[in-house]
């Protein structure tokens, strides 16, 4: 490995060092604030280091990684999201008496794994990234270990994740067996010739899809989502909803773009079915749901379905749309779970619809932000979500995917119902004036309030004036030949 390689891996290295340092610090002297500061700094530093890497040409580190605009953008996205999550977590864990510090280690590690995923071009790096992510999540989900739900969520996630990654590994093995390479590009070359994929290879790819599908939580691998979302601490849920899914999605895009999976009707069929199924299952499951966290979980399923629509477009516009949508979705979900986290009290998260009754009249600003987030999820103008959905539909129509697009429209109507329902609940008059939530120390309070404010502003800004972001994404993608090629 050369000098420059290290330069290009700087973000990852920073994160790694941050982990080591904070470990030592914890060993020396536990202090929530310090660890938190270290974490935040590390994220910021890593993000800063990205500005060095804004290359128009891809930089390949044989055989594991390629650092190109796409990767850089996704890493940046992930880092910022993690930063926001950590800021939310600070207030959230401050109220809770468990040992908070290790939480940040795991958070940083998970982020590291996600970052590795989006730049990996090799099964090994893919696998490493995925597992770093997963294993830190195994620990993050049941972090509030006195809560029975947390443990249950943890064990469920662990078994299922391990199970699915077994599938993934076996799939990789099969692919490797039938092609003799574990590098995406090599794989692409070896199958570029063949019009029909050999069965073994197909099976392999299929099994890998299962692994990916599980992480994305798309039908039929979605069943863990609601339980884990409900059981995990709100910030962790936000993390799962955003970073882990975003990372895997980035990987999926890269892989498919490399091997040009859209050539194969088999894969297209599978993905189409999965997409439609996810949209419907997600929305219908959320329809009458009483638990906000579960609603958000189900909605995330359907949103992944929407994203797959753009994914099926399989051209640059599709990727742009996905990327844009992800940004919007990250902002929105972090915001939404941020509100949940903010409203949660010591012994349980604010997850039942009742907890939100009349919120607008108790805490107008919080309610306003939450409504904004929900409207964005529903894809209503003035919010980022609208532009994102618009972009996806455009991509779909551009590629004549009428079936998928119509399904999307249908579903976003169904989806409206439960988003609006939450808002309606917030607008109801609370018949019993419940006692106001105890305010935390301002310093901490500011952390989450500030985060939410930033998110809300971003949401509206992107929703009203998306051109900047669109421009950025388009520039970034220029440096990815195999995407521009399409």
């Amino acid at each position: 490995m050369s000098q420059t390689d290290f330069l290009y891996l700087m973000p990852l290295l920073i994160l790694t060092f941050a982990v080591l340092i904070s470990m030592l610090v914890i060993a020396a002297w536990r202090n929530h604030k310090i660890i938190y500061v270290i974490t935040a700094l590390s994220f910021i530093a890593a993000f800063g280091s990205l500005f060095e890497l804004r290359t128009t040409t891809a930089y390949v580190i044989e055989p594991m990684f390629v650092i190109d605009g796409f990767g850089v953008f996704y890493i940046g996205m992930i880092l910022l999201t993690s930063l926001l999550v950590s800021m939310l977590s600070y207030a959230y864990f401050e109220q809770r008496e468990e040992r908070k510090e290790e939480y940040y280690l795991l958070l940083v590690l998970a982020t590291l794994g996600a970052c590795v995923l989006v730049i990996s071009t090799h099964f090994a790096s893919l696998f490493l990234g995925l597992e770093i992510l997963s294993i830190s999540l195994y620990a993050l989900i049941p972090y509030l270990r006195t809560r029975p739900r947390s443990d249950e969520a943890g064990i469920k996630y662990l078994i299922l994740a391990a199970f699915s990654s077994a599938f993934m590994l076996f799939g990789m093995a099969l692919v490797y067996y039938s092609t003799g390479t574990m590098v995406f590009s090599g794989l692409a070359q070896s199958i570029a010739g063949m019009q029909e994929l050999p069965l073994l290879l197909l099976t392999g790819i299929g099994m890998m899809l299962i692994g990916v599908g599980f992480k994305l939580g798309i039908v039929p691998f979605h069943m863990w989502t609601p339980d884990v979302y409900e059981g995990a601490p709100a910030p962790v849920t936000a993390f799962i909803a955003t970073v882990s899914k975003g990372g895997v999605l980035g990987l999926l895009i890269r892989f498919f773009m490399e091997v040009d999976g859209f050539r194969y009707p088999v894969l297209v069929t599978i993905l189409t079915i999965v997409a439609i199924a996810s949209m419907f299952a997600g929305n219908l499951l959320a329809l009458m749901q009483k638990n906000v966290k579960r609603i958000l979980a189900y909605s995330s399923i359907s949103h992944l379905g929407y994203i797959l629509v753009a994914f099926m477009a399989g051209n640059q516009m599709g990727v742009e749309a996905i990327t844009f949508y992800l940004v919007a979705y990250f902002i929105t979900s972090v915001g939404a779970f941020g509100v949940v986290a903010m409203l949660s009290d010591k012994n349980s998260d604010a997850e039942l619809l009742e907890d939100y009754k009349g919120l607008l009249w108790r805490r107008p600003w919080t309610a306003a932000v939450f409504s904004a987030m929900l409207l964005s999820l529903a894809g209503i103008p003035l919010t980022a979500g609208f532009v994102g959905k618009f972009y996806i539909i455009a991509a779909g129509i551009n590629d004549q995917l009428w079936l998928l697009v119509v399904m999307l429209v249908l579903n976003s109507v169904i989806g409206l119902y439960y988003y609006i329902k939450i808002i309606a609940v917030m607008f109801q008059q609370p018949e019993t004036e419940r006692e106001p939530i105890i305010r935390l120390r301002p310093s901490i309070y500011v952390a989450s309030v500030g985060t939410l404010a930033v998110l809300a502003l971003l949401l509206v800004y992107v929703g009203v004036y998306p051109t900047g972001l669109v421009q950025l994404i388009q520039n970034v993608l220029v440096s990815v030949p195999e995407i521009v090629a399409k």
């Binding site: 009249w361 103008p381 003035l382 129509i397 429209v409 309606a424 051109t467």
Partner: protein, 532 residues
């Protein structure tokens, strides 16, 4: 630039109203009043200053790039039609602020925020000449409306709000699909990807593509209008909304549907529209009759009025698809006159509700002697509803029918029967509310000054429309002739229906030649780069 101000004032006013609640609970009312009044003054000024309009239909244009990558621009334009619609918007907006003065007591600030933002959205819809922006505003006006119904509505508000929201959203999304379809077809043909209305105007379309796209647009507009059988959101929304909400719904939101038909469906898809015309007119007639029949048996006053607007909007679609100047002028008149008369009836219902706290006709009666002023005013509104000559609605309906008679005799006959049915339900209102003695209500006060201030302008407006509608007609003529250019009827003659149909037939043949190109275009769509 003044066009932008029209919208900005409202939005800013809305925010201001919300914040000003902190200072003084009454302040939001004044802020809202000021904002709407300012806009009204602006638009009236525009009207007067552009009295002598000649040549192009377009009085003003304003355009700045918004999302260049997608060819989306923030482009507003004003022609006679939109000017009239804006006049109506701000006029009714002003009244809705006034009627809420006493009615709304809770969350005054937030209420006026929503009120002004609905108006802003509507104004945007009437002004924008960029389809993306159009959809944007189309949606923007829904959310505040949802809140108006859902927060300040009557007993069954949540249900009504949901229904309203889902119906309009679903149809709107279909329109979005159509917009995007048009966008990509146009882009692939001409190579420039734009949502600009004027560019998209003459997009050559394959007949079936045109048909599909048109249905996309129709979905949104017909639901909004509403046309039977897509009307079932309307009675609930209208009857549950607060008075101001009902006025805006009936007076303005429905008109956005009609406006959409005039502005987009007719000019964008000449061929397809002509093909669809008979069915559309049939739908219109069904709406007229059905609405009238259902209206008759309603016992909830606001619900009754709601169904009457279903019936009246039937005339709109009937006229739009007659494709001649009389009918279209009739439609424009209908939009304005109905906006006034039905809005007025809802205001009346509001007055009654303020006094009796019920909308149930069975609990009213004999108010003529108790409240003669109200009686006279109500009489005027009711007579307007049943299309009495000398009031606006008569001009509207007569012109519409004269126009549609040229296109389809029998349908027109049935539509005319609809007027008789209108008499039936209208007189029922008078009978139940003002004539036959109802339960005793002590202290039923007559209209006070504020209420007269609201009612009298509407009466005068209706009379003016009925006796000297020429200004309106002159204002609308250029844009109407422009809409009709696609059907090249430069000199509207006493057109036999067949001549109306024949002409686009020839156009259809042209399109068949273009069909081949379009096919290629579609195959091209697979590989085109995204616009930038």
């Amino acid at each position: 630039m003044i066009l932008v101000w029209l919208i900005v004032i409202l939005m800013a006013g809305g925010l201001l109203a919300w914040l000003s609640k902190k200072i003084n609970p009454e302040l939001p009312r004044w802020v809202a009043l000021a904002a709407v009044l300012l806009d009204l003054i602006l638009i009236v000024y525009l009207w007067i200053s552009t009295e002598a309009t000649t040549g192009s239909a377009w009085l003003m244009r304003y355009e700045i790039s918004w999302i260049p990558q997608w060819g989306v621009s923030f482009s507003l334009a004003l022609d006679g039609l939109s000017l009239l619609m804006l006049l109506l918007t701000f006029f009714l907006g002003l009244l809705s602020v006034l009627i809420s003065w006493k009615e709304i007591k809770a969350k005054v600030g937030f209420f006026h925020f929503n009120l002004l933002w609905v108006l802003a959205g509507i104004a945007g819809v009437f002004l924008t000449m960029d389809l993306f922006l159009f959809y944007f505003f189309w949606e923007v006006m829904l959310i505040p409306m949802y809140f108006l119904i859902g927060v300040w509505g009557h007993e069954n508000r949540t249900y009504a709000a949901f229904k309203f929201f889902l119906f309009t959203q679903a149809s709107g999304l279909l329109m979005l699909l159509a917009i995007l379809g048009l966008y990509f077809i146009h882009g692939s043909e001409t190579g420039n990807y734009t949502f600009n209305y004027f560019e998209l105007l003459n997009t050559p379309l394959a007949p079936d593509a045109a048909r599909l796209l048109m249905f996309g647009f129709l979905a949104a507009f017909l639901v909004k209008l509403p046309v039977v059988p897509f009307h079932s959101w309307l009675p609930d929304a209208h009857s549950q909304a607060p008075t101001a909400g009902s006025v805006i719904l009936a007076g303005l939101l429905l008109k956005t549907g009609a406006y959409g038909l005039l502005r987009f469906v007719v000019p964008l898809f000449p061929t397809a529209a002509v093909e669809f015309a008979p069915w559309a007119m049939l739908l219109g007639v069904i709406g007229i009759i059905y609405g009238a029949i259902v209206a008759y048996s309603q016992t909830d006053l606001k619900r009754l009025v709601a169904y009457t607007s279903v019936s009246h909007m039937g005339f709109v679609i009937l006229g739009v698809f007659a494709f001649n100047e009389w009918a279209l002028q009739g439609v424009v008149m209908q939009m304005i006159a109905h906006g006034l008369s039905t809005g007025a009836l809802f205001i009346l219902a509001g007055f009654l509700y303020e006094r009796l706290h019920t909308r149930d006709l069975a609990r009213m009666g004999g108010f003529w002697s108790k409240a003669p002023k109200m009686g006279v005013v109500a009489l005027v509104f009711v007579m307007a509803t049943l299309g009495l000559p000398g009031l606006g609605n008569f001009i509207a309906e007569f012109l519409t029918l004269v126009g549609s008679w040229q296109a389809a005799n029998w349908l027109t006959v049935f539509a005319t029967i609809g007027i008789v049915l209108a008499t039936v339900y209208s007189l029922r209102i008078m009978q139940k509310v003002f004539y036959e003695p109802g339960p005793r209500h002590e202290s039923f006060r007559d209209l006070n000054f504020r209420e007269m201030l609201i009612a009298v302008p509407m009466v005068l407006g209706l009379l003016w429309l009925g006796l000297y509608p020429q200004p309106i007609i002159d204002m609308a003529r250029p844009s109407i002739t422009e809409q009709l250019q696609a059907y090249n009827m430069e000199e509207p003659t006493i057109a036999e229906p067949k001549t109306v149909v024949e002409q686009p037939q020839s156009e259809a043949t042209i399109n068949t030649n273009q069909l081949a190109i379009n096919q290629r275009a579609f195959s091209n769509l697979q590989i085109i780069q995204s616009p930038n």
